[in-house]
Amino acid sequence: MARQAGELFEEFQELTASEFFRKNKQMLGFSGKIRSLTIVFHELITNSFDAAEEAGILPVIKIDLKRVDKDHYILKHIDNGPGIPEDFVTRVFCTMFAGSKFRNIQSRGQQGLGCSGCVLLSQMTTGKPAKIISGYKENGKLKGVQMTLKMDVKTNKGLILDKKEVEVTETGVCVELQFKDVSYSLSEQGAFEYIRRTMIANPHAQITFRDPTGHKYIFNRAAEIIPPLPKEVLPHPRGVTADDLIFMAKHTDKRRFRSLLTSSLSRMSTKRVNEIEEMTGIDLNKRPKDMKWDEAEKIVELFAKMDFMAPPTSGLIPIGAEQIEKGLIEILKPEFVTATTRKPVTYKGGVAFIIEAAIAYGGQAGRVVGEQRKAEIMRFANRVPLTFDQGSCAITESLKSIDWKRYGIKDLENAPVTVFVNIVSTNVPYLSTGKQSVAPEPEILHEVRQSSMKVARKLQKYLRAKKAAKEEEMRSKIFETYVPIILREAANLAGTSVPEYEEVLAKVTRRAKAELLGDTLDE
């Protein structure tokens, strides 16, 4: 018997974000024991870095991972950032979709899911509350608060189980969480490698990590400069969709569409606005709320045809070649290292990005497989290591397209080489939900290629010089060995005695040296 609609909708309900992600934790990256723990490290470390840098502090992080039982760990993560004001603590750690990073700004984390996701995972697997200590300054006065928190998934809010003021000696946040169903691993996808790579891309930071065996790793600061704070930049006209314009129009406080355009988009002068008005015939003196979709679409179509200056790049802060080299030297102690930072360019016509590449050779560069050192590729986006989905990533694809033989590396796979690539952008085009691989935009592929080839050429120069020194030594030896033998045999053949040959020998040795300084190395 057919049932009526009303009956069927008796069970209709609405979930909170927390409830939703409780049922879908894999959407937060929590899938697999090793990956889950790496994601936790990632969320906490990037939050600490972003916070410290925003506050103008050189980041110092202490991490302590204790093993309680198989797949069961206690993680203590302490930073020296500006801390979190008491009122915001529950929201940062217990409300999903809450955060301060929803602007058009280059930052490491970006979803408002990081800290609260970690708390959710902890609570789901152990039932244990989160322990937070926040030291922060209010009106110049140092305050400290300690809280024990649970997440109420039904409401997507924090429950304070316990709260007290505590004395702190400096600002910063200490987070203590317990996890089950996670696993600490030394593999390329594991937490340790994540820290190591993080330190290469963030040589201004310092991390002390005590691993589950009790061993303490100290990753020292290799550079004393705090990276400049990236500025929020207005979106470039080429980077917006009609939906974005409508969304801006709806939530602006500007009175006219004209002023909305100039104030919300970069490179948008009054002259440009007048041109738009003229060419589209739309009255831009309208109130933003009256903007129709068709009109927004017309404007966006026009954007694609107009010439704009490239987007401002003040929002992009690369690590810088010198800093990258310092990071690589500190961590890999290589025989040779070189880095380069490209000029900013754009993809999709309006999104600015910078590619940085480096190459390290010898020492501890490359990864150890069996008894050999093989090449490794380290991918980063805004200084954050990308550890999964290597195969589909634009960075990998681009590096594979390079003919490494041309740069004196016969077989990239088997060379003791670490190739480093970092993409800097307010809007890195990720391929998938996990944000672990970069989409193959042609401009990105091009920039990765160019920058890698540049560092490869420098490596080649180094390897050549090394080889040439060896070669010269070998050459004079060859002449000194063979000339007497040949003349002895030739004399035997001719049936005569061996003539004086000092002068001829000197001649050929001299000539060979001259040759070497030319370009005879290309065999």
């Binding site: 050459r475 060859i478 002449f479 063979y482 000339v483 033998i485 040949i486 003349l487 045999e489 030739a490 004399a491 035997n492 053949l493 001719a494 049936g495 005569t496 061996v498 003539p499 004086e500 040959y501 002068e503 001829v504 001649k507 050929v508 000539r511 060979a512 040759e515």
Partner: protein, 352 residues
């Protein structure tokens, strides 16, 4: 001067020129004729490949060339010793002998190349220098008498497998013969068939069993019977690109041996079969051409040695029918058919 004296003198001069240069404080060098493809040209007059006149200079002052000069001089000494003692050695033996030298060969291939360098530089064949190939030559059956050293050999009385052409064929003299022609066949199967069916009597012919691609000694033998004894030479191979080419190398020489083709090629020799036309006319059992066969046939079409119209027609015909056939496939009509019918018909058409 006989061949041996010429060889010894040429070898000596190689040493002399080096020593003289040094005495004049010049850096010695050796001019080695280039064996690269661009220096191998088909000589329409001589009807075989010859080396062009491009040379490579090998200088004592070049780090990459000096070792090769050393190897050449050492090898020249070894050959001079062979020639003077009237001995021969195989290339393999030479390679092992070189173990005692102060310049090493990486492998047999490397020593073979230096051997060829020496051949072209001096304009002598390796046999002249006392270096012999490993392989024996073809089998010969029929009414011919030869002299090797002081021994007389009758190729009709050397057993059913006939007389084996030795690598030192140049030192063999032709004493006497009673044949009108020479028929060389690719396989020993066909050779024995012809002996069994007494083809040597029926056609007044020498039978030569090539055993596949003809050895240098075999090619030298065929050239000599053709030129010294004025005997027409016919070649009968499998009807496929490889059979064609075995015949052609006998007739016009190979590119690889351009520097000695004047001693090896027999431009007057004729290909008797199996042709594509034979396949059709005699309705022979066939196999389909493989991809590699087709490729090879197309290469032959571009080869100057096959510029002759008859060749071109036959190659195209084979490509068109897409089939190849072996010599022995005439057995379809009985074992005797090839001798009783095929050879008489073909010889008739070629000699008249």
């Amino acid at each position: 001067m006989n061949k041996k004296e010429i060889a010894a003198n040429k070898l000596t001069s190689l040493g002399t020129s080096i020593i003289e240069d040094v005495t004049k404080n010049k850096i010695p060098n050796i001019q080695v004729p280039s064996r690269g493809t661009s220096n191998i040209v088909f000589d329409e007059q001589k009807r075989h490949y010859v080396l062009g006149d491009r040379y490579g200079k090998r200088s004592l002052g070049n780090v990459k060339q000096i070792k090769k000069i050393g190897q050449m001089v050492y090898m020249a000494n070894f050959c001079k010793d062979l020639v003077q003692r009237e001995k021969t050695a195989t290339l393999r033996e030479l390679y092992y002998v070189s173990e005692g030298w102060d310049v090493e060969f990486g492998d047999q291939q490397e020593s073979n190349i230096i051997g060829e360098d020496l051949e072209v530089t001096l304009g002598m064949t390796r046999e002249d220098l006392g270096l012999m190939p490993e392989e024996d030559g073809a089998s010969v059956y029929g009414k011919i008498t030869l002299q090797e050293d002081d021994i007389e050999i009758n190729a009709l009385r050397s057993g059913k497998s006939g007389y084996t052409i030795s690598p030192t064929i140049d030192e063999v003299e032709f004493l006497d013969h009673d044949v009108k022609r020479v028929i060389a066949v690719e396989t020993m199967g066909m050779f024995h068939r012809m002996v069994q069916e007494e083809a040597y009597k029926k056609f007044d012919t020498l039978i030569v069993g090539l055993k596949g691609q003809a050895a240098r000694a075999t090619r030298r033998f065929l050239k000599r019977v053709n030129e010294e004894l004025k005997l027409p030479v016919y070649i009968c191979n499998d009807g496929d690109p490889w059979g064609f080419h075995i015949a052609m190398v006998i007739i016009s020489g190979s590119a690889k041996l351009a520097h000695v083709n004047h001693q090896l090629a027999t431009p007057n020799a004729k290909f008797l079969g199996v042709t594509a036309s034979d396949i059709i006319n005699y309705d022979l059992p066939t196999d389909p051409l493989k991809d590699i066969d087709v490729l090879r046939l197309k290469e032959l079409l571009k080869d100057p040695r096959y510029r002759d119209e008859t060749w071109k027609t036959e190659i195209k015909k084979m490509l068109k029918i897409g089939k190849k056939a072996e010599q022995q496939s005439f057995s379809k009509y009985g074992l005797e058919y090839v001798v009783d019918t095929y050879f008489p018909e073909k010889l008739e058409s070629m000699e008249n």
